[in-house]
């Protein structure tokens, strides 16, 4: 890794990057402008992406669907292996606990935010509405040209 880790992709952005990049030229430009090592994911985002993929492979009954979904899973694993995966460590656990449960924000987003906050990283997400509710969590939206804080 050449660059210092700075950004954590949220699940929505990682999914858009893999599956919908032509629809998000801003995301392409932003990702392409980062040095190696500057973009990673949290272990919770990796978990969430893999859970979704595994759900599909488990439910596939036709060989053609298996072929498709295992290809998705394989590609996603390669993508995750090529970047830093930031752990849910004791510092993140403390941040998660500090958020409390009454934020109105789902557990997955709180876990990801706690990891970002604990490690001084910026969440790259299109879900600014929920991340706005969590104190002291930096976030940016690369899926649109502009972002505002509501």
């Amino acid at each position: 890794m050449n660059g210092e880790l700075r950004y954590l992709l949220d699940t929505d952005t990682a999914s858009n990057f893999l599956g919908r990049l032509p629809s998000f030229p801003q995301l392409k430009a932003a990702m392409d402008s980062q040095p190696d090592g500057a973009v990673g994911v949290s272990i919770t985002v990796a978990e969430e992406m893999l859970k979704g993929q595994i759900k599909n492979t488990q439910q596939a009954t036709r060989p053609a669907a298996m072929l498709k979904f295992y290809r998705f899973l394989q590609g996603t694993l390669s993508f995750l292996q090529d970047m830093e995966i930031v752990p849910f460590d004791q510092a993140a656990a403390s941040e998660y606990e500090a958020f409390g449960g009454a934020t109105g924000v789902g557990s997955w987003d709180r876990r990801n935010a706690a990891i970002a906050k604990a490690h001084g990283l910026i969440v790259v997400t299109a879900n600014s509405r929920d991340y706005d509710r969590l104190p002291d969590v930096w976030h940016v939206n690369w899926c649109t040209a502009q972002e505002t804080n509501s």
Binding site: Q26, K55, N56, I122, W138
Partner: protein, 84 residues
């Protein structure tokens, strides 16, 4: 209301939440001065600008031609809904 800063490397805005006590450390690390609205408008990166590239780009859009990627998104969404 949080403070909006431009993120020139990404070509879009970085949102600092209100009450961020760690402004100085993270702002220093990011080296992102606050800028005016006109500067913000002129700083957006277009997809046609030259870019540096990194090894993650080989995965960019790797499933974009496959309409069944939406099934992956649906599964992730369903798992999230189960969370509640």
């Amino acid at each position: 209301m949080g403070i909006v800063r431009v993120d020139p490397s990404a070509g879009c805005f970085l949102v600092r939440p209100a009450g961020d006590a760690r402004k100085s450390s993270l702002a220093t690390r990011l080296n992102r001065p606050e800028v005016s609205g006109s500067q913000l408008a002129s700083s957006n990166v277009s997809s046609s600008q030259p870019v540096g590239g990194n090894r993650l780009m080989k995965y960019g859009g790797m499933f974009a031609s496959d309409p069944e990627w939406s099934a992956v998104e649906a599964a992730i969404k369903a798992n999230r809904e189960d969370e509640w």
